[in-house]
């Protein structure tokens, strides 16, 4: 692994499929039919990958490498890299581990599939175009884009417990505590859903074309959850405070927790090109140019250029970028 680099200018952005993810044992990289795990500069293991890696789902002791194009998943043990490749339903687009169970969202099959550690498999039919799966309080929440529905699912036995009709065509869905945050690019809105009551919890206007939302700070006794939205049209990211309960707000000495009433102060950062993905620690990414930025206290700097769309991951040491067969630590 390379040392700390302030700004790296790589060659042209590659659309060649490669995925990087942070795990509890190091950084996992899927590229060129291989799945590898790195701990600092050391390669811990290398095993067979998939032909078109699209996403790495990280669990406590296993990871799952998805190939959305070819309907494959490779499930590997984090300690050894050993595992198996399985066929999935059509277009495995997202996934999540709950304990040792892996749940894969098969978008074009309209199903959620559970892969048990003992090899068992169960399927559940979902609404049309399910694209995001999140977990909160031991329950799973799936957003189906075409129908605009959030379905609450019990992991075991696998069953839909509740559903809420929100609005179609969200481009991202994140969960913090018991609140779900969805961004709608065409309407330029951030909508909230209270996952406890499965009811709408307000909405706010969010820039011009918001496409990505990220929970950039967990809420605690002193501060509310930090929610950051990428708006490539306005070439800005917007950071706002997430929804707070009245009690939490009072505890913090603020009565501004009722999102939707405009009682929070958005902060924003301007970018030379429009960023469309945001991460913790002020990192943001522009898919068109493959540029990684970092924003701190209103100042924006280029971290690297020519980075593949999923060829990087934010870690607690900085951002790890996979390029030309090498893992670089930047920032």
């Amino acid at each position: 692994m390379k040392g700390l680099v302030v700004a790296v200018i790589f060659a042209a952005t590659s659309l060649h499929a490669q995925v990087v993810a942070t795990t509890s044992r190091g950084v996992a990289v899927a590229d060129d039919q291989k799945l590898q795990l790195f701990d600092n500069s050391r390669m811990m293991w290398s095993s067979t990958g998939v032909s078109a890696p699209s996403r790495i789902v990280v669990g406590r002791d296993r990871i799952a490498l998805l190939d959305s194009l070819n309907n494959r998943v490779r499930i590997a043990d984090l300690a050894t890299g050993r595992g198996e490749e399985l066929e999935t339903g059509e277009t495995p687009i997202d996934g999540i581990f709950v304990g040792r169970d892996l749940f894969i969202l098969e978008r074009d099959a309209k199903t959620l599939e559970r892969f048990g550690p003992d090899g068992s498999r169960n399927r559940l039919a979902l609404a049309s175009d399910p694209v995001f799966i999140r977990e909160s309080g031991g329950m799973l929440y799936v957003y189906s884009r075409l129908e605009g529905v959030v379905q609450e699912i019990a992991p075991s036995p696998l069953a839909i417990t509740r559903r809420f009709q929100l609005a179609p065509f969200a481009s991202d869905f994140e969960v913090a505590g018991s609140t779900g945050y969805l961004v709608f690019p065409r309407e330029a809105k951030l909508r909230l859903i209270d996952l406890t009551s499965m009811k709408a919890a307000g909405d706010i206007d969010a820039g011009a074309v918001p496409v990505d939302v990220s929970i950039t700070r967990d809420g605690n006794a002193l501060s509310a959850t930090g929610v950051t939205i990428a708006d490539p049209s306005a070439k800005r990211i917007w950071t706002i405070e997430g929804r707070q309960s009245l009690t939490a707000a009072v505890t913090r000495g603020f009565i501004r927790g009722l999102l939707g009433l405009g009682l929070f102060a958005p902060r924003s950062s301007d970018f030379p090109t429009g960023v469309d993905r945001v991460f913790t620690d002020g990192f943001a990414y522009d898919t068109t140019t493959g540029t990684l930025y970092r924003s701190r206290r209103g100042n924006v700097r280029v971290v690297a250029k020519g980075v593949a769309p999923y060829g990087f991951a934010v870690t607690n040491r900085g951002i790890m970028v996979w390029k030309d067969g090498t893992l670089h630590l930047l920032e």
């Binding site: 659309l15 699209s54 074009d108 075409l146 690019p185 074309v209 429009g274 469309d276």
Partner: protein, 472 residues
């Protein structure tokens, strides 16, 4: 600016005259469009259509160059749109870049960009239709079906809200795309709906415009509603006719093919199909002649023609289509020298055409086919000497064979008959080969000659197959 509508299929021919290939007209039109109009839609559709037109003529290198140029244009547009903060434009350009990648066979890049476009425009039926088209090109039918269903759902909502001609045309277009990805029974239902809708009074204004402008061109990326209407009607009728033909409803299929010819008298696919379904040899040859004038370089047409080739008919090769038919006749008769001369002449006129080059290579090895023809004649007339008979029993031969039809079954492919260098052959019984092979593709066959026989009324060889391999 005219909007761009993608009709999910490779382009096929257009107007033909005595010595002009049907797609010549569209190619000239597209080149003119690229020279005269500098806007994104004109440039992009120009290069995509040229790529498709050259692909149907089996000029693959030229087609790839055009697709590559379309890709460059779409990528530049993506960057410009982002710089201008125009996300709708960005999403459209991204979808077209993905389509160009798909046409170039670059699956992973195509998929990455399709997903990127959908992040921004999952509410756009057009984006889903482009997604479906790209997935169809890459052979990912279930993904194509899912995307096409999304497009139809969104477009149907739009028609419910506002039943304009534009919205109805969009819906018909997406239903047609969906029909390309679903099982035949569903496809037929959808195609009937599409053709009925297109022929309904709702499209009278468009039909009047088409009549006024005397439009007839068929494009896969159509600029404007009139061009899209014509191309869509053509494609939907062809697909419906093919389904009816497959189901054995010959007369209904012929009616549909004839309907195609009402608007495009020189549609090579319809002409070839009508030749195939003809009752008399004269009628068949007439349709084949017209089909060869429309697209002399279609491999499927050549296969079809060879299957029905009638050596009793003399072909005068004054046009490109005529010369192609003449070359095929010469090859079938074992007149390799004459075939090579005819094909050399065609190569002079069409130096980039891979079909002609392929036939020329075949003609080069046509000494074999002369030998095979002579062998049939000797076997038929029982004029083989005992030594020749012994040699025939002993020797094995290796040739490039093309099979008529294939049945796939548990990892095996069953073949029964085909053609070697224009000479028909069959096996004593249907024979299963390990592996998956396609009918109509050149394969390397090792065999023994058992005797002479008949296949569809023509002289043929009876062969004992020993080995079948993919040709390297």
């Amino acid at each position: 600016m005219k909007r761009l509508l993608l009709i999910a299929l490779m382009a096929v021919p257009a107007a033909a005259q005595e010595t002009r290939i049907a797609s010549d007209f569209e190619i000239a039109q597209m080149k003119q469009q690229i020279e005269r109009s500098r806007d994104f839609v004109s440039q992009l559709s120009g290069h995509l259509n040229l790529g498709d037109l050259y692909a149907t003529r089996n000029e693959r290198a030229t087609a790839v160059a055009r697709y590559s140029r379309a890709l460059e244009i779409a990528i530049a547009e993506r960057h410009d749109a982002r710089r201008d903060s125009d996300m709708t434009r960005y999403s459209t350009a991204t979808s077209y870049a993905a389509l160009a990648y798909a046409k170039l066979g670059r699956r992973s890049e195509a998929f990455t960009l399709l997903e990127e476009a959908i992040r921004f425009s999952s509410d756009s039926a057009k984006s889903w239709n482009l997604y479906a088209s790209a997935m169809s090109l890459l052979g990912k039918t279930p993904k194509a079906e899912s995307a096409a269903r999304n497009a139809v759902t969104i477009a149907a909502r739009d028609v419910d809200k506002s039943p304009t001609v534009e919205n109805r045309l969009d819906l018909a277009l997406y239903q047609y795309s969906l029909a390309s990805a679903v099982p035949d029974a569903d496809a037929e239902r959808l195609l009937r709906r599409v053709t009925e809708s297109l022929r309904s009074a709702a499209f009278d204004p468009l039909r009047r415009e088409i009549a006024r402008t005397e439009s007839f061109e068929i494009y896969s990326s159509a600029r404007g509603d009139a061009a899209a209407y014509l191309s869509l009607l053509n494609r939907a009728q062809l697909r419906l006719a093919a389904l009816l033909e497959q189901r054995g409803e010959t007369e209904s299929a012929k009616d549909q093919y004839q309907r195609v010819l009402e608007t495009r008298t020189d549609d090579a696919t319809a002409l070839s199909a009508l030749a195939r379904l003809s009752r008399t040899a004269e009628e068949r040859e007439r349709y084949f002649a017209a089909a060869f004038e429309a697209n002399p370089f279609s491999l499927s047409l050549i296969r079809e023609y060879r299957r029905h080739l009638d050596l009793k008919i003399d072909v005068a090769g004054t046009t490109t289509g005529g010369r192609m038919r003449a070359a095929l006749h010469q090859m079938a008769r074992g007149e390799s020298r004459a075939a090579r001369a005819t094909l050399d002449d065609l190569i002079q006129r069409h130096p980039d055409n891979e079909t002609v080059m392929q036939l020329r290579q075949e003609a080069e090895s046509c000494l074999d086919c002369t030998g095979l023809r002579q062998t049939i004649a000797l076997l038929r007339s029982d004029r083989l000497t005992p030594e020749q008979r012994a040699a025939l029993d002993r020797d094995t031969f290796v040739s490039t064979a093309t099979f008529d039809s294939a049945t796939l079954n548990s990892g095996q492919t069953v073949f029964e008959s085909g053609v070697i260098d224009g000479v028909p052959f069959r096996f004593p019984e249907p024979t299963a080969f390990t592996g998956s092979f396609a009918a109509g593709s050149p394969l390397r066959l090792t065999y023994r000659i058992l005797g002479a026989t008949e296949l569809r009324g023509a002289d043929a060889l009876l062969l004992e197959p020993l080995k079948l391999e993919v040709r390297r």
